[in-house]
Symmetry: C2
Subunit: 221 residues, 2 copies
């Protein structure tokens, strides 16, 4: 029933336009009553984005399921791959919706609020994980925004190519850029640092001078 | 007249609530006609954000006015400071609006669309300036999102503190984090690199072994 309502809605949106289609038109085509429609979708806008609530729930569960060993930025990057998959599982539908959303300002606003909810979910997760850093909240918000932007960049390229091309590879590439920018230096491990002496010397310096420097460096410690 | 309408609107929004206030109520209190209201504001929502259009225009002009010598990320960081100033110029109003926006989902959606327009302006500028880089579009989108997120983080802290504290210093700090993450390596200059020899040696190594390494390093070049 839910799928039939979505199919009927998109049939009419593409044929007549979004604004010109009423919920009554949709239920008439799907052969169900108005109450059935509103059982699944709070409003006409929601039928345009039928999978986002499920996807948000899946993604939030995935983040909540993190272990202490999971690197937080990596985990958020993996979470955003769940979002991309929602789009790529159904290329025709995703491309149709993309075209519709571009034409209808109200849907554009709806989509922004959805994107914002994904970004908040990333930020909330990172805020928890980075809480011990001095700038944890700031870093969480900035990294969450960067991950969302990388996703949107890869997704839009794929949608503009009519769902051709490898969206997943494009996302991996985009996330690589973000991860490189926000790479955390590895935590110092417990082993003794290797005991080395580094001497930097001007090439022109005579060898005896270099040896002297090494000797004094060795004596210092 | 414009300021009087904004003042009347906020007086009523705070007294009765946003939803319970009509445009008729606002014009009655301000002592003007409906047409005057709609000359300044397309809708009731717009009176909540009276300065954004001007601010967007100022900021876009500032970006358009960039010289070739301006470092692009730095320029966008300077542009976002214009946005912060719009808030900090009028702390009482900004804090009132923040509280109102938190309570009214429609205003929250409006605000998201405004933030998105700022972010697009940053991204468009960076796309132009980074066009010669292999991943210029991706980098532009990610950096724009990071700058907007840094701004929003600093702004929200300030708003939550009821407009106390130094928002500008908080923004500088937040932008420092973004700039450090996306720092471009300085272009190699024309001078000869200083001619040095670096020897890294295990401390346990006997001195003759170290000298031998230096000699062979010097000979190699």
């Amino acid at each position: 029933m839910r799928d039939a309502l979505v199919a009927a809605a998109f049939h009419l949106f593409l044929e007549r336009g979004y604004e010109q289609t009423t919920v009554d038109d949709i239920v008439a085509l799907a052969g169900v009553g108005r109450r059935s429609f509103f059982r699944y979708f709070p409003s006409k806008e929601d039928v345009v984005f039928p999978d986002h609530e499920r996807c948000l729930a899946d993604m939030t569960a995935f983040l909540a399921d993190s272990g202490d060993d999971d690197e937080p930025v990596q985990r958020v990057c993996d979470a955003v791959r769940i979002v991309l998959r929602m789009y790529t599982e159904n290329p025709t539908f995703s491309v149709q919706r993309y075209r519709l959303t571009k034409k209808v300002p109200g849907l554009r606003a709806y989509e922004l609020s959805v994107v914002w909810r994904y970004e908040r979910a990333f930020a909330d997760h990172l805020r928890g994980r980075l809480a011990s850093r001095p700038d944890g909240t700031l870093q969480a918000d900035v990294i969450a925004a960067a991950v969302a932007a990388a996703h949107n960049n890869a997704l839009r390229s794929w949608l503009r190519s009519d769902g051709q091309g490898d969206a997943s590879a494009a996302l991996d590439h985009a996330l690589g850029y973000v991860q490189q920018a926000f790479a955390t230096p590895p935590a110092p491990d417990d082993e003794e640092p290797e005991d080395v002496v580094v001497v930097v010397s001007r090439r022109g310096a005579p060898l005896w001078r270099v040896v002297q420097e090494i000797e004094s460096a060795l004596e210092q410690n």
